[in-house]
Symmetry: C2
Subunit: 488 residues, 2 copies
Amino acid sequence: MPFTALRVAGPSQRRRYRRTVTSVRDFVNDHRQRLLDDLDQWLRIPGISAQPERHADVRRGADWFADAARRTGFPVVEVLDDGPWLPAVYAEWRSEDAGAPTVLVYGHHDVQPVDPLDLWHTDPFSPTLDGDVLRARGASDDKGQLLFHLLGVQAHLAATGRSTPAVTLKLLVEGEEESGSPHFADLLEAHKDKLGCDVVVVTDTGIVAPDVPSTVTGMRGMVAATVHFHGPDLDLHSGVFGGAVPNPATAIARMVGALHDDRGRVQVPGFYDDVVELTDTERELFAKVPSDDAEFMKVAQSRALHGENGFTTLERIGARPTAEVNGIGGGYQGDGHKTVIPSDAFVKLSFRLVANQDPAKIISGVDRFVGEHTPDGIVADVAWEGSGVKACLVPLGTPAYEALTDAISAAFDGAQVLPTREGGSGPEAALQEATGVPLVFLGFMLPDDQIHAPNEKVSVPLLYKGAEAAAHLWAGFAAVGATALRER
Amino acid sequence: MPFTALRVAGPSQRRRYRRTVTSVRDFVNDHRQRLLDDLDQWLRIPGISAQPERHADVRRGADWFADAARRTGFPVVEVLDDGPWLPAVYAEWRSEDAGAPTVLVYGHHDVQPVDPLDLWHTDPFSPTLDGDVLRARGASDDKGQLLFHLLGVQAHLAATGRSTPAVTLKLLVEGEEESGSPHFADLLEAHKDKLGCDVVVVTDTGIVAPDVPSTVTGMRGMVAATVHFHGPDLDLHSGVFGGAVPNPATAIARMVGALHDDRGRVQVPGFYDDVVELTDTERELFAKVPSDDAEFMKVAQSRALHGENGFTTLERIGARPTAEVNGIGGGYQGDGHKTVIPSDAFVKLSFRLVANQDPAKIISGVDRFVGEHTPDGIVADVAWEGSGVKACLVPLGTPAYEALTDAISAAFDGAQVLPTREGGSGPEAALQEATGVPLVFLGFMLPDDQIHAPNEKVSVPLLYKGAEAAAHLWAGFAAVGATALRER
């Protein structure tokens, strides 16, 4: 496989590029401890955006990153807390080169909740380094990824002998991503003066395997809601009243039970209306991505695969919309048995969307579905998490995409960079809409990093690769130039 | 309506009986405060048998009642703690009359859990008297009922001038009833030497309304289980894995969704095989019990009725078996949203049974149903609460039944005592099997006492009525005699 970075460079540039690769790697290797020390500090701040009692910690996490950006050399650093969103961080480092492209890097500093806490082998907020593996909530998603950028820009300066980056670098670090970015559109609107750029780099994704570099080219969107069923106004004795009044726990289970048919198709009215089906060519490309159902099951620690009939695992994750139960509750939860008819029950549902599905249409379809499955005597309430997130697709072969894969390849000694799709959702669609420029994904989480689960971890060597790739990317984007970067 | 107590008494006995009614009432009225003071002490002990951390309190509750029985005058009082059961109390007061019948009174000293605690208007273990209403966990179910017996036997002695009761009185007060009496059969087996009697009086039930005395003539049985579904061995990110692995929360909801058909019929294999259908005559009798669906909905604080098609509310509760969800849980339970595929989910199910249904057959049917509804990749576990409780039916018109209704009527100034059926389950079937004698129900809970729910309360005047009825009952049973009491 040829060294793909060379596609944008002539023969005389090749030697210079190789020198840069060595210089970048040397700088990163010489400053590994700084990244680890910084990460250790940041990971101790439990900034869980989904839990209001942790919002002071979310702010501390923002303040910490703002300081770190200042220490790195960013001349402009602001904590953005002038709206309903949790504090975000904006940092800017202008290139001294006239006409240099502008790059907006997106990431987030908030983290997922940590329950069930008893399944963690180490304290989630006491980072523990075990060989090449660092364990802590947020180690991979997304603090580790963001910190490689701080090291990366310094490596870029050191390797090129520059005092400002070859591109104008903007960092936008959100504090609500793990809560579904409910105010991200507001934040983008309020700070649209800061968003001018030629390309967006999203750093909140992963690669296929430690030795298989890849980049995400599609992400699913999402809508999420808590459906609450209220039955009798008090918990009732199931002997005295059982069999004669509506039971909201039974009713909500029946509603969830009707959510899929026996072929795994979601039964929300109109759910598949706008889905663009995979073409035969796309299905062939999907089939080329190295993927092994047995390995997937091992990483998922699942005893079986399960999903929409007629699709492969990668298709189910990357190209098909879903309905999942994220939580369900109601009635007696403790030891032993309490023979009540509960007064209340809830289910937390999320729906992953694919390109062209409109969150607003899905929301109204789910509202209708819940209404149709609410029996007499049950009061239903559907609380949506914001207005949802659209799916996002990155076209292959654009100059921005080529520069990205070249930079990643350089960090991986010339290995081929594969395009993948990810099943997750983020605020990418909003970023794409607000900026109007191409968007690429640079991130090095691993499938088994257990993000969102107990015992989250990150592969430390991949963070160093991330710093290298970022350093190469700024030089690569500068070589491409602003106009070409905007090509779609 | 004639004074039904007179059915067992000739004209000359009538005057004596009326004097007894007055004497019993006077004694009870003079000792009301003692009952209230005792109840206040006992209700402060949070003896929740379903919660292992409360088992020390269950023992304290047993010790307290043992002391109270001794203070009342019972010469033999034992705390039974020589087996796997939580401590029970046995008390015995032999009649000095040769050939006096022996009566075994059953009740329980343990109480239901109190969650959700935030729905209580007062502390569940700080009894609060508000006019005629006393609020606390256990006030009605079953501590208040048991304490009227202690006052009742004293009223019986005072009104008849006796130094020992006219019947040999045995009290058996269990400590695990609210957990489904898992070891009650063991307890009965271990202490069968204490169970010799001519009639059993169960004191753990209610009446139709404060001014409508009634007695239970049927109780449903029950089996209960926690079904646990285990999916992937860790919580997974629903973006990364959603749509491709089995979700135990979705799966358990689908299983519960299949539990009833659209007509409210339980879909467990063989569920209705042994049910004795109501005869037309029985349905006519049921229809005579004063019952008002609107009032039932008001007491249940429910906006609708819901149940098996083709049956009235009373039939659904008294004569039809059910399947109810008592609790369901899995995945994220907190504020906001966590986009996980949970590793685990559970549902707590109970099945009310009617006469002739065999708990063992229902248990195996449910096991089969769960197996048939466990998808690939899900590991199911069904944990049964003991071996279940058979339903129980009291034949009308026997001497024991007539003496019971006479005694209740006497406490209610001669009002007619209606036969009812209750939907609840208790250890009656085991008692009936262990003793081989007729069983009757004496209890004064009200439908709106909110037993098993927040804000449990008891009507204090009904406890005084209970003491009166008990006092009359011992005289009445003595008048009937041991041989006639055993008639079925």
